[in-house]
Structures are given as C-alpha cells and as structure tokens.
C-alpha cells in the first residue's frame, strides 16, 4: 500500500526549509523505489518543530522534526515509512502537549488534510455546515450564528450574527460578502494558516454567509505579502467551482454564490474595513466615515458583510455542530475558541487554538515556554502594532475581550509578541508612531499629523529635552489621536505608546540619567 508522507506547504514551514526537505524525500523515494507519496499539508502550528514531517502508519501518524534536508537519508534508513525510531522522532503529533491541550474547532483540519483535496475535506467533516445551511431559511442561519456568540475575530469583536442580520434585512438588488484577509498585524498568522492549510473552510463559511444574507458574490481580499495564501485560495476556489460548491446552484440548491480572490498592494490601512472596500473598488485605500455602515452601504454602495478570515472559517462548525456546542466554550461575553498566535522572542512559538479565558501568563510562560533567548520576559504586545504592551505585573489578565479592555489593552486578532529584557520600550513607542505615520491613509488629521509629531516628541524625550513636559505632550497627543481619529490606525496607536510609557517609565527617562544608571 502506498504510504503517505506529509511535508507542510505552509509559508512558515517553507521559510524554514520545507521545500528542500520535500525534494530530498522525493529523490530518496524514487532512488530507493519506495511505494510512497508526498502530501503538502498545512502546518500544525508548532514552528519550533518545523519543518515537521509526518508519516501515516498502521498505528496512526508519526511525526519527525525539525527536519533538515540533510537528515532525510538517515530518516529513511531508520524506517521513516513505518514510523521508525530516530533522534528527530516526536511520536504521535497529537500527543505533543502543545497540540494535545488545544481545542481545535476552526483549525480542526489544518495540518491533517491535504488542503486542496475536497475528498479529504469531506472525509474530515467538511461541507456539513453548508449542507445544513442550504436546507434552512436564511433568518434561521443568522439566528444560529448570533446564538453561538461568535464575535468578529479581526479585532473589533463585533457580534457576527448581528452584522449578518443587518445585511439580511437590507433591501437591495445586489449584496456582497467580503472576507478581510489583509492580515497585516505583526504576530498574527492565523488567517494565513487557514488559507494555506484549509482553504475550503473559508469558502464554505463565505458561501454560508451568502446564503444567510442574500448575497451572491464574495471577494477575498488577501494582502500581497502572502503569495502562498493567494495561490492556495485561488486553486481552492477553482476546485470548489468545478465541484458545484460555488456557482449558480450551491450544492444543487436554489442559492447562487461565487467568489473572487483579490490581492492587496502593500497598504496596512486596507485591513480597516472601509479602506479595504475602497481598495476593492479600485480607489485609494482611504478610510470612509461611518455611518453609513458597510452592512447598509458597503462595496459599490451595496449592503456588504465584511468579516475576518477566522470569523468566516468558524461558521461551518457552528452550522454543523450547533450554536450551543460553540457557545459552551469560553468565558463571559467571549464565547467559543480563539486561535492565539504566540510570536516574537518566544521558545515555543506557534498557533494555539483554545477557549477564551487562559491568563496571559499561562500563555506566555506556560505554553510559550518563555523567551527564545532564555532571558526574562520584559513585555508582551497583545493585538499587533495597535495593541498594548503588557508587563509581567499584568500577566494575570484573562484572554477575553472585556478583561483586556479593562486593563487598557485589546486582544485584537489574538497575536502576542514576546520581548525579552533587552527591549527598549521608548524605541517601541517611537516605532508605533513611526509605523502609523508610514501607513496613515491621510484622511484625518490626528492620525496623519499626530503620528509624525509623536515621533518628534518621543525623540525629544530620548535626547533628554524637557522630558517631563514632553511626556505630558505625548499623553495629550495620544488623547487627541485616540478620540479624534477616524479609524483604529490613529485611534489605537496610543495603546502601544501609552502602555509603554505607563508600564515602563524607566525607559523614558532622559538620556543622561539613563546613561548614569547603567
């Protein structure tokens, strides 16, 4: 029987040499005349073990990692095809504690299946949600999503079902589903992993959204920095169309739904929903004032559901298993699971899907295992470039939308960047302002001008010029940006700046004092 060997095709694994490993295995298979085939699966999300090669044996999957191309002949000598013993052997991948402790709902198939095999997708419970949805009334689908408690995973945390309901009730000749796959936040890669590792789940989620709201056309707007995700989504859409999942009759029903993949052009601000809509329309990615809400007047002025990748990819399991099943995970008003992305200077970096409620300390120290450098953790930025820096003293904060807000932070798209004690928080605050200045769309003054002034004022603090006065000035400027900006770029840049200033005041002391202290 042909043995299946899995070598991830995920960008993270590719960045660590998976392509060379796959080629080496292929060469050995043919040189040794073995009966084996290679499947390019998604990543299991344990990046310190990538490239992680798995083999399907009679006793289940056996993993090896991190594998380098030069390890391949030795692995085959050791009996890779039957799961033989080797110094890189990890055993059953699902028993590795990092994976065993997760609750994988949205990421249930990622790393297990061939991302572009519909047969695999169906064999692992795929399309069940859509099959149920085509037999339901649109309002009932929307109710089920609302009852699940699913909130927008892009960062804002707005209830997905309520957004859908607005679009359902809007009267129009044409409606759209737009998937925001402009995942520009540093420390986040969950959207990318879904698109590369299980693209059909996103297609299924978008088709359900279309049926639920009366939209017949979808767009997936993927950032250009993700060429592999673009390629896999494009191929998956083609396959889904040929299989009748997309098209004039979704799964043979009376509903029509089709979609296109569109590529961004390197503007961070296009992750903001109204700016993304302008970009899709072929305009400058400038933010629109709200109201009108996109749900009423969105793409080309038509009612539009705009949701993040993870929100849409979580819908199929909610339709398949029911709203109660999903809602039973989590805490408070944060229901279900969240794919936490642990990144930066961390020993065990990767994707960890779990119910809401773990504390920041459990995630960083327990799951992440502390820093990669082995030095103490100084700060953790939660929620990307617009998220706050948390010191160790706030490590008891539970991972929950409201709990993070109470501590002047946000969970955003659930990415965590760990910094060790060599990090200079003044420099990080300056970078936040600088990044905002580079990426500002220019529409509103607090963001466009405020960010540049912010860099200048922080530079003055760094050089020891009237530090007290300038610290007060930064605080005042942040206040203006927070309440006066049109969107989250200018509005949330104060989070990293103020949290750095508040929690790490020693880094903002004037230069002469700082030097004297060293």
């Amino acid at each position: 029987m042909t043995v299946t060997i899995y070598v991830p095709g995920d960008s993270g694994a590719l960045a660590l040499g998976a392509e060379k490993v796959a080629k080496a295995i292929e060469a050995e298979i043919s040189a040794r005349g073995l009966d084996a085939r290679i499947v390019r699966n998604g990543s299991r999300g344990m990046f310190w073990l990538e490239p992680m090669v798995e083999v399907s044996t009679a006793e289940g999957r056996v993993a090896y990692g991190p594998v380098k191309a030069r390890d391949v002949p030795g692995l085959l000598d050791a009996g890779l095809l039957s799961g033989g013993a080797h110094r890189l052997a990890l055993g059953d991948p699902e028993k590795i504690p990092f994976l065993a402790r997760q609750t994988r709902l949205t990421f249930a198939r990622v790393g297990i299946t061939d991302p572009l095999s519909l047969e695999d997708y169906r064999a692992h419970d795929g399309l069940r949600g859509l099959e149920k949805a085509v037999a339901m009334a649109p309002a009932d689908i929307v109710r089920q999503v609302t009852d699940s408690g699913l909130r927008g995973r892009g960062g804002a945390g707005f209830p997905t079902g309520i957004k859908w309901n607005t679009v359902l009730n809007a009267v129009s000749d044409r409606k759209y589903i737009v998937c925001n796959a402009d995942e520009g936040d540093s420390a986040t890669f969950a959207d990318r992993m879904i698109m590369e590792g299980d693209p059909f789940v996103l297609i299924e989620g978008m088709a359900i959204a279309g049926i639920a709201t009366g939209a017949t056309k979808g767009f997936i707007y993927i950032r250009s920095e993700y060429p592999h995700a673009v390629a896999s989504m494009r191929r998956a859409v083609e396959i889904a169309r040929r299989a009748g999942i997309l098209g004039v009759s979704v799964l043979g029903s009376a509903y029509a739904f089709d979609m296109e993949v569109r590529v961004g052009a390197g503007a961070y601000v296009c992750g903001e929903e109204t700016s993304l809509l302008n970009s899709l329309e072929g305009k400058r990615g400038v933010v629109r004032a709200k109201p009108p809400l996109p749900a009423i007047q969105g793409l080309f002025g038509k009612p539009t559901v705009i949701n993040n990748v993870i929100s849409l990819a979580s819908v199929p399991i909610i339709m398949d298993r029911g709203s109660d099943f999903y809602k039973d995970f989590g805490m408070g008003r944060s229901r279900g699971t969240i794919p936490i992305q642990i990144a930066g200077n961390v020993k065990h970096g990767g994707l960890y899907e779990t119910a809401f409620g773990l504390t920041l300390g459990e995630i960083v120290d327990g799951i992440g295992g502390g820093t990669a450098s082995g030095r103490p953790v100084k700060a953790v930025q939660v929620g990307g470039p617009l998220g706050a820096y948390f010191p160790r003293s706030l490590f008891d904060t539970p991972f929950d939308y409201e709990e993070f807000a109470k501590r002047d932070g946000l969970i955003g798209h659930a990415g965590l960047t760990v910094f060790d004690d060599t990090a200079d928080m003044l420099k990080m605050a300056r970078f936040a302002m600088e990044f905002c200045a580079i990426e500002s769309c220019g529409k509103c003054t607090p963001c466009r001008i405020g960010s540049t002034r912010g860099v200048e004022v922080i530079d003055r603090i760094a050089s020891g010029m009237e530090p007290e006065k300038n610290r007060a000035l930064v605080t005042d400027l942040c206040n203006t940006m927070k309440f006066g900006s049109l969107c989250a770029l200018g509005g949330f840049t104060p989070y990293p700046v103020m949290s750095a200033l508040t929690h790490f005041p020693e880094d903002f002391k004037p230069a002469p004092v700082r030097e004297a202290a060293e």
Partner: protein, 159 residues
C-alpha cells in the same frame, strides 16, 4: 473589424492588459498588478491609457498608483530583498540584521544597488512571526534569518 491600437509598445501592451481585466468589478488594482507583472513596474505611459479606458481622470489613477507601497514607478533590481521590520521581528533582532545587510550590499532601504543587482525594501510583516526575523527574496520566504543566512542571501543576489 480588428482595430490595431495605435501608440508605443508600452501603450499597446497596457491596452491589452486592460482589455483582459476590464470586465472585473473594480478592475483598477488587478490591472496595476498585471502591469507590474508585465513590466516590473507601472510605467507612467500606462496611466493615461488606463484613465481613458476606465473613464477616470489621470489624477485619480496617479493617486491610486502612488497610494500603495507595492506599485513601482521604475524597475527594481534583478533581485528584490524584503526584510521584515515589524515588532515580532524586532524582538528577535531585525534591526541588527537590517544593518548588516545594508552594509553588505552597500545600499539602504528603498535603494537599488548601482549594478542593478538588488533592491532592498523593508516590509511590515510576512506572517512568519513565530520564526522571526524573516525576509523574502524574490518571493521566497526565509525564516530565522541569521549571519549565515545573510551570507547566503548576499551571495545569491550577487550572481
């Protein structure tokens, strides 16, 4: 009747790209991406052709081209090296990596080597944040960039 479009080679090729894409909803970004694929940059000569075909003003088209970081106004070097400078990569020393690369190549960010071998650019996140610092060379992703990787990259772009 087949019409032979008049004008320069760039204008003719631009018209052909537009003809392929014009049926899309919101065709401008796909057209610009395709032009950049075709020419390696978005030629100034293409803009009036686009403006006329999409019934936009030249100023509007110019505004869109200049808004997005991706669109080049002139050709890049033979290789394009992007170094991630976002927070996760900073936490793993991307500043130091960038300095070393700049020194080795003799150019700064947004510059092209005099021999046309390589263009160096910063990028803000490649989604490889659990294997920082990261880079992208001619579309290929590279994780955990270290001194050895820098040497390999410099070697690769010089050939």
């Amino acid at each position: 009747m087949a019409m032979q479009p008049a004008g320069t080679d760039i204008e003719r090729r631009t018209a052909s790209v537009i003809a392929d894409m014009k049926g899309l909803e919101g065709p401008l970004l796909p057209i610009l991406h395709q032009l950049q694929d075709e020419f390696g940059y978005v030629p100034a000569q293409s803009l009036p052709v686009i403006a006329e075909a999409l019934r936009m003003s030249r100023a509007e088209v110019h505004g869109v081209v200049t808004f997005y970081h991706d669109y080049r106004r002139q050709p890049a070097g033979r290789h394009v090296l992007k170094l991630c400078q976002a927070e996760a990569c900073q936490s793993m020393g991307s500043d130091r990596i960038a300095e070393k690369v700049k020194q080795a190549l003799g150019i700064g960010f947004h510059e092209t080597a005099r021999d046309g071998s390589v263009t160096l650019e910063p990028v803000y996140c490649l989604g490889l944040c659990a294997c920082s610092p990261s880079a992208m060379l001619d579309g290929e992703v590279i994780g955990r960039v270290d001194d050895e990787t820098i040497e390999e990259i410099v070697e690769a772009v010089r050939t």
